[in-house]
Subunit: 415 residues, 2 copies
């Protein structure tokens, strides 16, 4: 099956944004053995779009058209696709009612143009947008398929994984059986991890292993082709056991959408434990990350942001001598932050984050130096020193600190 991706957007073509949708879609297609070997970006210009879509439709059996589904005058994708294919547009009345209701709930004025976002290709199928207004479209004719997808990545990605991939898997179904599983790791450079993965799986035939670096994880994807389900699962189980045995300190879960914080919140809930934190360089990001999980209230009441030394003293009650003697960025301060926050909130677990986010150094310690404390009721307080890649910037140091804290907590919980 030959595929093409057409990305529509003047801001892409002018270089104002980098097109991350096409590579995301390409990686998804690769899991089904499909390569999109022509990937075109064009501006929101109807004539250009019609010509590009028409050529792609003639040439390829699978065409994706991405972006330009907004309600404004320069969003002309649907009209261009309809013109290129010689079809029309249909309003999904249920979705149109939902859009109107959404505007009402938000007390926002709806424009008549918003009806554009309830349209799909006549003769095709609307695709659900989990997080935005505009529908996608799935259209088939004469053995060719065309898929219309929204431009914003947070709308695009779920529509690809939830709406497009299952349909494509069915289409491919007759040809290739693909079984895959994703393992998630944190805290190890990709090259080191993959070298060891290659070594421990060297004797395994029939499993293809690829890696992909996510912001908060390295994902290792194992794929088996053309095997019955039971045999495919057996192969994946064997590979997973070999890899996890070697990389246990860095492994945290299975699945494309697996996030370390969700795993940690689940474990806390199962064990009936509550967590808090006192945060310096992370400035609330650890607690905010915990609160990103629906149902966080089962494991989290609140906590403290103690950015300045004075806040560490006044809000937490850390003795000024501790900070004076050891420095703000120290094991002693991190341990005290963890312990005092735990006492203050009267919960089982407290974490303390103190370090140098950068760009400047602090107390003679370079940016990227971070101490994390972990106080668990009835256990000795642990501390951990991290040297994070400050060249990646202040935000990356803070974000990695949060993930390192979650990892420390995860390791303690599974013991």
């Amino acid at each position: 099956m030959n595929a093409e991706i057409i990305s529509v957007g003047t801001e892409i073509v002018l270089g104002q944004i980098v097109n991350t949708n096409a590579p995301f879609l390409a990686r998804q297609l690769a899991t089904l053995g499909i390569t999109a070997d022509r990937q075109l970006a064009i501006p929101d210009q109807r004539d250009l779009m019609v010509e590009a879509i028409r050529s792609a439709w003639q040439r390829s059996s699978l065409v994706f058209v991405c972006g330009g589904l907004g309600p404004t005058a320069d969003d002309v994708t649907l009209a261009a696709v309809a013109a290129a294919l010689g079809t029309d547009l249909t309003v999904d009345q249920d979705h149109w009612q939902w859009i109107k209701g959404t505007f009402k709930q938000r007390h926002k004025v709806m424009m008549p143009e918003n009806i554009q976002q309830a349209k799909y290709l006549t003769g095709g199928t609307p695709l659900v947008n989990a997080v935005g207004l505009a529908l996608g479209s799935w259209y088939e004719r004469d053995g060719h398929r065309l898929v219309v997808l929204p431009g914003p990545p947070r709308e695009f990605k779920p529509m690809v994984t939830r709406e497009v991939m299952p349909r494509l898997a069915k289409v491919i179904g007759q040809h290739t059986q693909i079984t895959s599983r994703t393992l998630n790791f944190f805290g190890r450079p990709e090259s080191e991890l993959m070298d060891e993965v290659a070594t421990v799986t060297a004797d395994l035939t029939g499993v293809t292993i690829t890696s992909y670096v996510q912001p908060d994880a390295i994902q290792v994807r194992m794929t088996v082709r053309n095997q019955a389900q039971a045999e495919a699962n057996r192969l994946l189980d064997t590979a997973q056991a070999a890899i996890v045995a070697k990389e246990a300190p860095f492994f945290f879960g299975v699945g494309d959408d697996c996030r370390l914080v969700n795993v940690v919140v689940d474990l806390l809930r199962q064990r009936g434990l509550r967590v808090t934190a006192a945060e310096s360089l992370t400035g609330g990001m650890f607690q905010s990350t915990i609160c990103s999980v629906p149902g966080a209230s089962n494991v989290f009441d609140g906590g403290l942001v103690t950015y300045a030394a004075t806040a560490k003293e006044h809000l937490l009650g850390i003795a000024p001598e501790v900070i004076e003697k050891n420095g703000v960025v120290s094991a002693a301060t991190a341990a005290q932050m963890a312990e005092k926050s735990r006492e203050k909130l009267n919960v089982a677990i407290g974490l303390g984050f103190t370090g140098v986010a950068g760009p400047d150094s602090l107390e003679g310690q370079p940016a990227g130096t971070v101490w994390i404390g972990l106080a668990i009721e009835g256990q000795p307080t642990q501390t951990k020193l991290c040297h994070l890649g400050a060249y990646r910037g202040r935000q990356a140091v803070r974000r990695q600190s949060v993930q390192a804290g979650l990892q420390m907590l995860y390791q303690a919980l599974i013991k």
Copy 2:
């Protein structure tokens, strides 16, 4: 002058790397008024490449072919370009001597294939590679131009800026002068904003206005072409004044990289004010956002995360009756959170965030309902009710709450 960019690389087409070369080149071209309105990515396959290059050469007066200049067998770009144009390749003898010398000096073994990297299109001009081995090529015929560039971004970018741009500027001759300026807004749907922008700038000729939705802003970009700098600035000033006069409550700054939080932290610093917060649904995200700005310690000491009602009572000292009588998600609770956090941290400004992040409703209020309190020393406490788009998900509601709080603070600071 119509331009096209062809990016060559199997790893791009498989989504293993994101193509940042094309947007970089597009931004450079935009400064000369050139839009590359077809940007194609294809794998290192000779037949596909020859066809794509031939079509582009016929269609456009300027074609860029990027990537695939290495010495290995799958680097076939130069051969494909030569075949498509019906020309040949010439060895640059000086450069070939330099490559041989470089390998000798680095004590590396050279392969015979490295001679590929000293070749350029016969009849064209070699382009110097400041940081790598492979030459680029500049080729002109019958009013058409084709430029061959290396794939690695650290070789690509300097070749574009040092070798390509000066030659293009000459071609453009009395070249197009482009002046542009970006205005940033928050808190208004793009369609409403752009409708009003279109209305207030309807009488202005010579200014092109486009919009782009960023995660935390809507950017409105105003562009003037072919005007002397003074006149261009006058036109942009007039447009900006008209737009900002109409959209003042949503405007927060000028510039592509302008972020609301940086503007707010700068204003606080200039006025010698410190800020804190008590956060419920945002769970620390407001404070973490403040801490994302280098030098946040000038305006921020710390604060509180009061997710559960008990934390609001115990950490902040809000009377249980206030919450019982008004509800957790209420103006009264938001106001108390703002005031008590300000008192607790002994600073000039406190914010309180309480609301329903979702997915479930709370106290009968739907997800997306958020109250924000703002307490400023010596002023009556303000509260604001937001109805945020819960269909975008829990994280988006929390993130928009933070931006709404920053906007409220910004408006108070500029009064």
